[in-house]
């Protein structure tokens, strides 16, 4: 933590040297600093810190039919833990998380290919892979729904050439969650690709040259140089990926119509939260559910940090 503020100690020492001379401008400087921070601070207070406390309060209340919150103790938490749909949503969310993480090996593989010396068109490839990430999620969801369509969809058509059966990918409870997960991987790979390309660029080229002189082939170089030296970046990316996929909402909302028979099998924690809070007006229970999600995110992040020592190499 100390290194985060490298100038603090030096500045303290300097101001101690000439207390009387520094006093007046320093207090004026202090006031200026608070003025610089105030706009953001007020915004955070109103839209982040206060709402956090509010949600915590809401989670112990019941939202009445005519507005207003009544204190009901821990009932919401009991309801959340006893509700089958919550456990189902949790299970789905973990599936999204695991599928979502598949974007990482894909991105590493592409980044390693792009790292090839003298390869042309690197920026073109990078641009093409990144496009799905920049595109409006609604556009992504709509076109994939169309590709997945059971009657007229292109995916079924292609699979039929190979003798596979036609499927209703997004309304079949056994495939819907994977269909959505696939789109997630497709749309995020480009983002991680850029992170990994930046990470790989930081690996000194001499290592590769030395390994090549020793007769190490491309695979060997990948596993003994690229992967270990990239591990801090992989660690960071896996945390981001996990946190984001635990909050999956957009694609589910866009791809699953309300009457879809597979809706329960694809609902994530956040989409269930949305339904409770803004469709069913169960604000208290929704708040409790949101806190549960936060605890899960915090716990899993902590576990990742703990496991870090086993596989992350800092040069």
């Amino acid at each position: 933590m100390m290194s985060v503020f490298p100038s603090t100690a030096a500045a303290k020492k300097a101001s101690r040297g000439s207390p009387s001379a520094a006093a007046a401008p320093k207090s004026r400087g202090q006031r200026a600093a608070y003025l610089f921070i105030a706009p953001l601070g007020i915004g955070f207070a109103v839209f982040y810190f206060w709402p956090l406390l509010q949600t915590f309060y809401y989670s112990f209340t019941e939202f009445g039919a005519f507005g207003g919150h009544t204190w009901i103790g821990t009932d919401n938490y009991v309801r959340v833990l006893k509700d089958v749909t919550v456990w189902q949503a949790l299970g789905n969310t973990l599936i999204y998380c695991v599928i979502g993480l598949l974007a990482l090996p894909l991105a590493i593989f592409v980044a390693a290919l792009l790292n090839r010396r003298g390869l042309r068109g690197v920026s073109v490839y990078r641009a093409l892979y990144f496009i799905p990430f920049v595109t409006l999620p609604v556009a992504v969801g709509l076109v994939w729904n169309w590709l997945y369509n059971g009657d007229y969809g292109l995916i079924n058509e292609v699979l039929e050439w190979f003798g596979a059966d036609r499927r209703y990918w997004v309304s079949d409870p056994s495939t819907a969650v994977y269909a959505i997960g696939t789109v997630m991987v497709w749309s995020t790979t480009g983002y991680y690709l850029i992170i990994f390309m930046a990470g790989i660029k930081g690996i000194p080229q001499d290592y590769y040259e030395a390994a090549e002189l020793d007769g190490a082939g491309p695979l060997r170089r990948f596993f003994t140089i690229t992967l270990p030296l990239l591990s801090p970046t992989i660690f960071f990316a896996s945390i981001i990926c996990m946190i984001n996929s635990l909050q999956t909402f957009d694609l589910i909302y866009i791809m699953m119509a309300e009457k879809n028979p597979a809706i329960g099998d694809t609902q994530s924690v956040v989409s269930l939260f949305y339904k409770w809070a803004f469709v069913e007006n169960a604000q208290g229970a929704a708040a409790a559910l949101a806190f549960l999600l936060m605890l899960i995110i915090a716990a899993l992040t902590l576990v990742q940090f703990r496991l870090q020592k086993r596989w992350v190499h800092y040069a």
Binding site: F5, S7, G29, Q30, A32, A33, Y34, I37, L40, G41, F44, V46, F47, Y48, W50, P51, L52, Y58, V110, L113, R116, G118, L119, S123, Y125, A127, Y129, F130, I131, P132, V134, T135, L136, P137, V138, A139, L142, V143, D151, Y152, I195, M197, G199, P218, T233, I243, L246, Q247, D250, Y253, I254, A257, V270, Y274, F278, Q283, A290, F291, L293, M294
Partner: protein, 285 residues
């Protein structure tokens, strides 16, 4: 010399074979990435009847661009695009102003409680957004701003990520510049505005570009605060097409193509800043 030249030729040939394979793999991947958009364009140009054909046709029988006009009558499409622009500009300008001010103070000024405040601000990064939307909705409602333009961008104008990113940049600037300016009699704000801010322009550009993208694409918050179609941004507005026109795929595809276009154009022109902002968020923490 004479000995090494054949070997070099073999090496060159091996590199060629290798790079052909590399290009083949990369192109295949790129095709998978881009194909859905191509399919979107082809579908938008088909007639409604043709989209229901089994097996699906690849190219339209006759190219029909009327879907691109129809989407403007099927939805308040123009209003929605305008709302998206408003939302995007509001959030981006807000973040640039508020985050750069605070980031500068955290990076370059001495004051009591700096570390505590900075840690507190950073803690916002760790809170899932769903935890905040219920009370945020209440606040917007109490301010009488539901179904208004400011409702879309108000909370999004304040960002911990932006503050953190800009602070990292301000930290790298040399101290001498500030000291020289102060001796010349410049005040804190003057130093910030005319000396330090221009120096972090690359970071500001990167933040602007990534904020614009998040704002244009944001879905959950607009769905909550603006339920009147006239007041929705396009990200939320397009979702209602699905319910209304369950089978009108050409119109849906045309609408989502038009709505994606602004960000794609921004991306093509400002690619460097996109890449920079992603790489920054990846390596500096």
């Amino acid at each position: 010399m004479r000995e090494s030249s054949p070997r070099r030729r073999i090496n060159a040939r091996r590199i060629n074979a290798g790079s052909v394979a590399t290009h083949a793999a990369l192109s295949l991947g790129a095709l998978v990435m881009v194909f859905p958009f191509l399919w979107q364009l082809l579908t938008a140009a088909k007639s409604l009847a043709e989209t229901a054909k089994v097996p699906p046709t690849f190219l339209p029988d006759t190219w029909n661009w009327s879907s691109f006009e129809e989407v403007f009558t099927a939805l308040p499409f123009r209003d929605m695009l305008f709302n998206s622009v408003f939302n995007t500009v509001g959030r981006t300008v807000g973040q640039l102003v508020f985050c750069s001010l605070a980031a500068y103070a955290f990076a370059r000024m001495q004051f009591r409680g700096r570390n505590v405040l900075f840690a507190l601000f950073l803690s916002v990064l760790m809170v899932p957004s769903s935890l905040l939307v219920l009370p945020q909705y209440d606040i917007i409602q109490r301010l009488g701003l539901l179904n208004s333009a400011p409702a879309l961008f108000l909370p999004g104008m304040f960002s911990a990520f932006g503050t953190f990113m800009l602070r990292q940049f301000f930290l790298t600037l040399p101290k001498e510049l500030e000291e020289a300016a102060r001796i010349d009699g410049a005040g804190s704000f003057r130093i910030f505005w005319s000396i330090m801010l221009p120096l972090v322009r690359p970071a500001l550009a990167a933040l602007a570009v990534i904020t614009a993208m998040w704002s244009w694409n944001d879905l959950l918050w607009p769905l909550i605060v603006n339920t009147d179609p006239q007041k929705m941004p396009i990200s939320a507005g397009l979702t209602s097409l699905e319910g209304q026109f369950e089978t009108n795929y050409p119109v849906m595809m045309a609408g989502s193509l038009i709505a994606s276009l602004p960000m794609l154009i921004v991306y093509v022109f400002l690619q460097r800043h996109f890449v920079q902002s992603v790489a920054l968020s990846g390596s500096k923490s």
